[in-house]
C-alpha cells in the first residue's frame, strides 16, 4: 500500500524535527486514522478532533516507535488509546444530540429504505458495545490481521477472534430483530 522505504526516510526526517516530513505521514494516514476514530467513537466531531490529536501525540512520542516495526500498527495504537480515553470521558459527559448516523449522514431524508443495507449496518454498529465494535472496525475498515488488532488493543489474539465473531453475531441479531426498514423521527 505504501512505499515502506520512503516511509522510513520520512520517519527518520520527522524524528530530526523536519515537520514537512511528518506532514507527508499525515497525508498518507489521515484517512485510516479518521476511519478508526469514527468507527470507534461514532461521533464525527470527536473523530475529527482525535484524528488531529493522534498525529500530534504520535509526533511528540515518535522516539518510542521502533523503526523495525510496522508504523501503522503503532499509529493505530496511539489513536486507539485516545479513543478509549474519549469514550471513558463520554460516559460521564454524554453528547446530548442523538448519534450522528441515526440521521443517515448528510442525507436530508430521514426514511431509510429497506434496500439501504449500509444504513441498517450503520445503526447496528452504533448500538454495538465498543468492546466488539473496535475489533470490527480494525478488521473491516483498517484491514488489520488478528495479530495486529491484538497488538493495537493490547488483548490476546484469541480474545480478538472471539470478539469479532460475537460482534458479527450481535450485529446480525440486531438487524434481524428490527428488520431492514428503519424509520427515523425528526
Amino acid at each position: 500500500m505504501y512505499h515502506v522505504q520512503d516511509e522510513v526516510s520520512l520517519l527518520r526526517a520527522s524524528l530530526a524535527g523536519e515537520t514537512d516530513a511528518w506532514g507527508e505521514i499525515v497525508v498518507r494516514y489521515k484517512e485510516a486514522v479518521f476511519g478508526l476514530c469514527l468507527g470507534f467513537l461514532r461521533n464525527r466531531a470527536d473523530a475529527e478532533d482525535l484524528t488531529h490529536d493522534a498525529f500530534i501525540r504520535a509526533y511528540t512520542n515518535l522516539h518510542r516507535y521502533k523503526l523495525e516495526k510496522k508504523f501503522s500498527t503503532w499509529l493505530f495504537t496511539v489513536a486507539s488509546n485516545l479513543c478509549r480515553n474519549r469514550l471513558r470521558y463520554r460516559r460521564y459527559h454524554p453528547v446530548i444530540a442523538p448519534p450522528d448516523y441515526v440521521k443517515g449522514g448528510n442525507d436530508p431524508a430521514h426514511i431509510v429504505a429497506a434496500e439501504d443495507r449500509n444504513s441498517a449496518v450503520r445503526q447496528a454498529i452504533d448500538r454495538l458495545p465498543v468492546s466488539y465494535r473496535a475489533p470490527l472496525v480494525l478488521r473491516y475498515y483498517n484491514e488489520l490481521s488478528y495479530k495486529e488488532i491484538a497488538e493495537v488493543l493490547s488483548l490476546p489474539e484469541g480474545t480478538i477472534k472471539t470478539r469479532i465473531h460475537r460482534g458479527k453475531l450481535l450485529l446480525k441479531k440486531d438487524m434481524e430483530k428490527d428488520g431492514v426498514v428503519y424509520y427515523e423521527s425528526g
Binding site: 520527522s14 524524528l15 530530526a16 524535527g17 515537520t19 514537512d20 511528518w22 506532514g23 507527508e24 499525515v26 497525508v27 489521515k30 484517512e31 479518521f34 476511519g35 469514527l38 468507527g39 464525527r44 473523530a47 475529527e48 484524528t51 488531529h52 498525529f55 500530534i56 509526533y59 511528540t60 512520542n61 515518535l62 522516539h63 518510542r64 448516523y101 449522514g105 448528510n106 429497506a114 434496500e115 443495507r117 449500509n118 441498517a120 449496518v121 450503520r122 454498529i125 470490527l136 472496525v137 473491516y140 475498515y141 458479527k168 450485529l171 446480525k172 438487524m175 434481524e176 431492514v180
Partner: protein
C-alpha cells in the same frame, strides 16, 4: 438484506462513512504541521546516546561541545580537589622555590595582573601585612621573592585592593571567612605542617 454478506457490508459501510466525512480532514496535514512547527519529537535517553555516537552532523557539534566543556570542568575540579585533598609533599621540588644561603628557601610569588596599579601578597608568613610585588619590565607579570623557612603557608594576593585567593601556582586552597586562601608547602613538610 442478506446477512451472509455481512463482512462486505461492514467494510462498505465503514468506508462510506469516512468518504462522507472526508472533508473534515482535507487540510489536516497543514493544521498538524503548523502546530508542531519548531518542535522536535521528545527523545528517549537511549536515543540521546545513540545520536551522540552516530556519525557527526552539524546539529551534533553543540552536543559534543557540551560534553567537552563538561569534561574540562570536571577535570579542572578534579585537579583542584586533588590538590586540596592530597596536597603535594614535594614542594621542595617546585622551581619557584630555591634554597637560600641561610637555610631558608627563596620562594617566588608570581601574579599575572596586566594593567594593575598595585599587587601585594599577604599571608601567615608576614602576619597578613602586605608585601608588594613588582613588575619591573611592565609585562603585567608581578613577582616577589620572599625568604621562608620550611613550613606550610596560607596566603592571598591583593590586586588593586581586591582579594585574589586562588594562586594557580599554589599547592592547594582553603576556604575560610567566605574567601579562598592559597596554600603552599615549603621544604620537607607534610600536609599537616
Amino acid at each position: 438484506m442478506r446477512v451472509d454478506n455481512l463482512d462486505q457490508a461492514l467494510s462498505e459501510t465503514l468506508h462510506q462513512e469516512v468518504q462522507e466525512e472526508a472533508y473534515r480532514i482535507e487540510q489536516l496535514e497543514e493544521r498538524v504541521v503548523s502546530e508542531i512547527e519548531g518542535r522536535v519529537p521528545r527523545r528517549g535517553i537511549g536515543d540521546v546516546f545513540r545520536r551522540m555516537l552516530a556519525p557527526s552532523r552539524g546539529a551534533r557539534i553543540g552536543q559534543l561541545a557540551t560534553v567537552g566543556l563538561t569534561a574540562i570542568i570536571f577535570l579542572t575540579l578534579g585537579v583542584f580537589l586533588s590538590g586540596k585533598i592530597f596536597p603535594s609533599h614535594h614542594a621542595e621540588l617546585t622551581p619557584i622555590v630555591s634554597a637560600a644561603a641561610n637555610g631558608e628557601n627563596q620562594v617566588l610569588f608570581v601574579m599575572p595582573a596586566p594593567g594593575a596599579h598595585s599587587v601585594s601578597v599577604v599571608g601567615n608568613f608576614n602576619g597578613w601585612e602586605a608585601t608588594p610585588l613588582t613588575d619591573k619590565n611592565g609585562d603585567g607579570i608581578w613577582t616577589a621573592s620572599i625568604p621562608l623557612p620550611d613550613g606550610r603557608y596560607e596566603y592571598a594576593f591583593v590586586v588593586d585592593g581586591k582579594w585574589w585567593g586562588q594562586d594557580p601556582l599554589a599547592d592547594g586552597y582553603v576556604h575560610s571567612f567566605g574567601e579562598y586562601n592559597s596554600v603552599r608547602y615549603v621544604g620537607q613538610v607534610g600536609g599537616g605542617a
